[in-house]
């Protein structure tokens, strides 16, 4: 099969720095730790890297600066974030602009004013800010409409949040390691923006992450299990947090991205072994299951209650605990979805979090309240 050009590219290194509610380290040190960790994971040296997308949000450290820091060698620099940064780097490698690219980012000290919610949750647009809107409310407006149309329930949200959090409770590197919760605990937690309670929402934390991509040809020379890009797509529907998140307009964001992704890979949702999908709020899992094609529109809630998303289910999801339990560190969390997929497919997780014989992982970024959803499918083999 001709296949997507993405399939000629593999992720060979993936690493998360220590994550915590608050780190004592300096953000650039965390960033450098992320870079070194990913290089170690790939068995490569920095001199072998000629593509850079290495940034930190709080310190405003850019990829051009990182090229200088790593010896001022001529190099390709990327400019996107999250999954689109991976696609951008893959296409740059594919076009011969570089052979090996590193994507790394870190966030420390962005949220220390605890009387307010995290700064990135508070939009400043003139048609949003005065109504006391913030990220949980944006996503809640989507969830409420879905509940109205399809009878989706808070008990279904609680099942999702508990499943994700209990994965994180078993993951030694998760910020909330050891913190098991029941669906009833989720329902008993304090209300944030109805229908979302505290435990339906992502946490805030600090940390860094990095991954390394190279050509499949180069990957074969390395002493690591490559994880191939099987397909990917992006779906942007305008600026996030400046206008009303109207379900009828934006509720299916990501459908196009998933369709493109599966089409490139020649695969279907039933071929997926594990879902490392975006979990900013419990409801967003239901929405993605529907628009990605794992179930029909309106059936996501029932699908969840059938237990498919648990570790022993057909589609285990967010196996490291995700944004709710593992970490939610600025832009790092965007690449932490593919990183989790790589670590899962390489069999690096504790046994009780390992999906047996997993070969294909679906990852995503974004969400309905943010009006974008990007999708990336990863696998241990390129489809023939």
């Amino acid at each position: 099969m001709s296949g997507s050009p993405l399939q000629q590219i593999a992720i060979v290194g993936a690493y998360n720095t220590p994550q915590a509610k608050q780190l004592q380290s300096n953000e650039i040190d965390v960033l450098l730790n992320a870079v070194q960790g990913a290089l170690h994971s790939a068995g490569m040296r920095i001199a072998e890297v000629d593509g850079f997308n290495v940034t930190s949000s709080t310190q405003r450290f850019t990829s051009r600066q990182s090229v200088m820091l790593f010896g001022a060698r001529p190099g390709w620099t990327g400019s996107d974030i999250g999954i689109p940064a991976i696609i951008e780097a893959a296409l740059a490698i594919n076009a011969g602009l570089c052979e090996t690219a590193i994507i790394a980012t870190a966030q420390v000290s962005a949220h220390r004013e605890r009387k307010k919610t995290a700064p990135w949750t508070r939009p400043t647009n003139e048609f949003v800010e005065c109504w006391g809107l913030f990220t949980p409310a944006e996503f809640a407006l989507m969830a409420r409409r879905h509940m109205h149309l399809y009878g989706t329930t808070e008990e279904q949200f609680a099942e999702i949040a508990a499943t994700i959090r209990n994965n994180g409770a078993r993951h030694p590197a998760a910020c909330h390691y050891g913190k098991f919760v029941t669906p009833q605990d989720v329902l008993n937690s304090r209300m944030i923006a109805e229908p979302f309670r505290l435990l339906d929402c992502a946490m805030t934390s600090e940390g860094g992450a990095a991954l390394i991509l190279t050509s499949a040809a180069r990957a074969r020379d390395l002493d690591v299990q490559p994880v191939y890009l099987l397909g990917g797509g992006t779906d942007k529907q305008g600026m996030a947090y400046v206008t009303a998140p109207v379900w009828d307009k934006y509720g299916d964001v990501g459908r196009r991205a998933a369709k493109q992704t599966f089409s490139q890979a020649g695969l279907h949702p039933t071929d997926v072994d594990v879902l490392e999908i975006y979990d900013p709020f419990s409801f967003e899992i239901i929405r993605q299951l529907e628009v990605f094609g794992f179930c029909s529109l309106g059936e996501g809630g029932d699908f969840v209650m059938e237990g498919h998303l648990r570790m022993d289910g057909r589609f285990p999801m967010v196996t490291n605990g995700g944004l709710m339990s593992f970490s939610h560190a600025g832009l790092a969390q965007l690449i932490q979805k593919p990183i989790s997929a790589v670590q899962q497919l390489r069999g690096e997780y504790p046994e009780e979090l390992t999906v047996k014989d997993a070969k294909v992982a679906l990852t995503s970024n974004g969400g309905s309240g943010a009006l974008f959803t990007d999708v990336l499918l990863l696998g241990t083999e390129v489809p023939s």
């Binding site: 949003v128 005065c130 304090r190 923006a193």
Partner: protein, 134 residues
Amino acid sequence: MANDVIPLPRPTALSEPHWNGCREGILRVQQCQRCKTCVFIPQPCCTHCQSNDLNWLDCSGKGKVYSHTTVHRAPRPQFEVPYVVAIIELEEGWHMLSNVLGCPVEDVHVNMPVCVEFREITDEITLPYFVPTR
């Protein structure tokens, strides 16, 4: 729920007619003169046909709740909880964000009929809130 320290809009050349309308007690939205689409938030051209022939339409201020959330953890301490953030679907077929006031928060529901109620916050800014239609 509003007081003088919540973050207030800073009107731009594009949005000024909307905010001036609020001060005059009229809810205004851009309307495309070619395809009649109502455009909100304010834009330099129609989001349906890209015509730049947009006029400001005076609206009835009547609509219904499209979706809603009651906020219990405010993004800033200046907002007094609980309060209702809602998407209002206006009679003219467009949507805007606002707060629903004038009833207990638990009474707000999807499709609830509401109408605009202007509240002067400062000399420059009057905000368009919504209350249940009596």
